[in-house]
């Protein structure tokens, strides 16, 4: 049985008004454009686009809450960690301007835990937060707004061959199914006394203990594939050019979205190539900090 992503048709969704091919092309351009920059001034417009896409998607909070909180929690955790440790930012700035230093009143084997709050760390953490949130918001919208029935025709429409388009279609459909199978297998093995949550022992022992969930899920997937293969063979899959039940039509607004995405990507790459959009800290703030 296939388990589907949490897609449903939403009458007021802006994303769903577009052809899925147009939206995916725009999304790909958006990704390339965002990862070109570290300057928060360049990243903020992309973040606003992501927020507009989210707020007009028609997805209700209770539908997306779990996934959203998980990803945002992840993003916040790493941004705060970067801020506290300063790691990761060193590639982008050579000098730090200290605002305040907190030293612990104790030492551990001679090492005194110290937190340096610098202008660069604050701006790097902010830039990272905006950059990763922009990517995460746009990514999370896809499974909620792209009709699973249209995966295949969408990939075909993007220029892939029938076989690769169908393989991509099936891959996206299988992911939630196998996640469910994994959970079921884990529950079944737990019921039989396997301690899968607390894998202990040496390396080889740990790998061996993974076997009772790893092997059944994989082999079950292969066995179940025979039904799908038979169904596809009965419909003469691969014998000639494939026809699709659903048809996608691209109109003016879709072409506009595609060209906007391509333009933004090309402009971003060009701007980035000439050295703009790198990590930025306002001069005024540095002066204020005494730098």
């Amino acid at each position: 049985m296939l388990v589907a992503w949490r897609y449903r048709k939403r009458p007021n969704s802006l994303i769903q008004k577009f052809d899925p091919r147009a939206w995916l092309i725009f999304y790909a351009c958006y990704l390339v454009a965002v990862i070109t920059f570290w300057d928060i001034r360049f990243l903020l417009p992309f973040f606003i686009v992501a927020l507009v896409a989210l707020l007009t998607s028609g997805i209700r909070w209770h539908e997306i809450r779990r996934a959203f909180l998980f990803i945002l929690g992840f993003v916040f955790f790493f941004a705060i960690l970067t801020f506290l440790t300063g790691r990761g930012g060193m590639e982008h700035y050579a000098e730090e301007h200290l605002l305040r230093q907190f030293r612990a009143p104790f030492s551990i084997f001679g090492w005194v835990p110290t937190l340096n709050i610098t202008i660069e760390r604050i701006f790097y953490a902010l830039s990272q937060l905006v950059r990763v949130s922009s990517l995460a918001i746009m990514t999370i919208l896809i499974p909620y707004s792209l009709d699973p029935r249209l995966y295949g025709i969408t990939f075909k429409g993007l220029g892939l061959s029938d076989k690769i388009a169908y393989a991509m279609d099936l891959t996206m459909r299988f992911i939630p199914t196998f996640s469910r199978d994994f959970q079921l297998t884990m529950d079944a093995q737990r019921a039989r006394g396997y301690e899968l949550d607390k894998i202990r022992g040496g390396l080889i022992e740990q790998v061996r203990k993974i076997g009772p969930i790893f092997v059944p899920v994989t082999i079950h997937a292969i066995i179940a594939s025979e039904d799908i293969i038979d169904a596809m063979d009965l419909r003469a899959f691969g014998v000639g050019p494939r026809t699709w039940l659903d048809e996608l039509k691209r109109d003016f607004k879709d072409r506009l979205l595609i060209w906007s995405g391509l333009a933004v990507m090309l402009i971003s790459l060009t701007v980035g190539f000439f050295g703009y959009g790198q990590f930025w800290v306002p001069e005024a703030v540095i002066r204020w900090a005494g730098g």
Partner: protein, 309 residues
């Protein structure tokens, strides 16, 4: 001009373009040479795909390259399983502790097994697309040259299908893999203070800069010893021996390709790429290959016997 000459010239042209990008434009703009330039990542994607294409081209008449209904479904299943296992075992859902800097990444057995059982095209798709979806689900970001590296793991694991006699090439592959593992191991012993760039431990405030441990450094030799043990212990079961041996070569070359590409992409030194990145990734993978791939091969053989397919 025949087709092979044309492909050869095309490859030389691509190499020239790559050199021009790194040493020509790189001299004018340092961002093009190293750092996190996305363009270079895609250059390595093309290089990786070209490697696969050249192997296809010179053996294009072999039936191993046929892609029918079964291969399409297996590609999808392999990629989805690899994505799901990557997501579950990457510490986001199913927390598996790392031992002496060796994080458990059992999902790598999937492209190896699917490549070996269903052919190089299925292996390539499983590794490349599965890794891409896995990275997307995990939220770590997309690293296209690493996805192609994972694709090459599955692709190379599927190459025995090109041989009529799988046993013939087995020992050559084993010793070639062993030699590469030995070279990497020697590099570790020459540079034991190199940082493990893949080791992240937020709880203890460690982000890819802890010195590589002895176990992580020699894990590729441990993995090779296990693979050799399986190869000779299961000498009678050709499928187990071939799956593990070719999986090993795929892992060394595929992960090696991705790690070495970081010399240009991330500006790593060759030692940092091989000792700090390749060893902690490829070494543990070999251990999983030696244990999990035989389990999958045996289970799949039982299914084949039952179903008669």
């Amino acid at each position: 001009m025949n087709k092979i000459t044309q492909v050869g010239l095309s490859l030389i042209a691509i190499l020239a373009i790559l050199l021009l990008l790194v040493y020509g434009l790189g001299a004018a703009n340092p961002r093009f040479q190293t750092g996190e330039n996305p363009l270079l990542r895609f250059v390595f994607v093309i290089v990786g795909l070209l490697v696969a294409f050249v192997i296809y081209f010179v053996t294009r008449d072999n039936p191993a390259w046929e892609v029918g209904t079964r291969q399409v479904v297996w590609m999808a299943i392999g990629a989805a399983l690899y994505a799901v296992f990557s997501w579950l075992f990457n510490g986001t859902v199913f927390v598996v502790p790392s031992l002496s800097q060796v994080a458990l990444r059992p999902a790598i057995a999937i492209p190896m097994f699917f490549g070996y059982a269903f052919g190089p095209v299925v292996g390539l798709f499983t590794g490349a697309i599965g890794n891409t979806f896995g990275d997307a689900l995990t939220g770590f970001g997309l690293f296209p040259q690493w996805s192609i590296g994972n694709g090459l793991v599955g692709f190379i694991a599927g190459l025995p299908m090109l041989f009529r006699d799988k046993k013939k090439s087995l020992d050559t592959v084993l010793w070639a893999g062993g030699l590469l593992a030995l070279v990497a191991g020697i590099l570790y012993f020459l540079n034991p203070t190199q940082a493990n760039t893949l080791f992240f431990d937020p709880a203890n405030n460690v982000f890819g800069d802890a010195q590589i441990t002895l176990f992580a450094g020699i894990s590729i030799l441990v993995g090779f010893a296990l693979v050799a043990l399986v190869r000779f212990a299961f000498g009678q079961n050709l499928d187990i021996a071939a799956a593990v041996t070719w999986g090993m070569l795929g892992n060394i070359l595929g992960i090696g390709f991705a790690a070495i590409s970081d010399i240009w992409i991330n500006g790593y030194s060759p030692v940092a790429a091989i000792v700090g990145e390749f060893l902690p990734a490829a070494g543990p993978n070999l251990i999983f290959a030696a244990i999990l791939v035989p389990l999958l091969v045996v289970a799949y053989s039982a299914v084949q016997r039952q179903s008669g397919r």
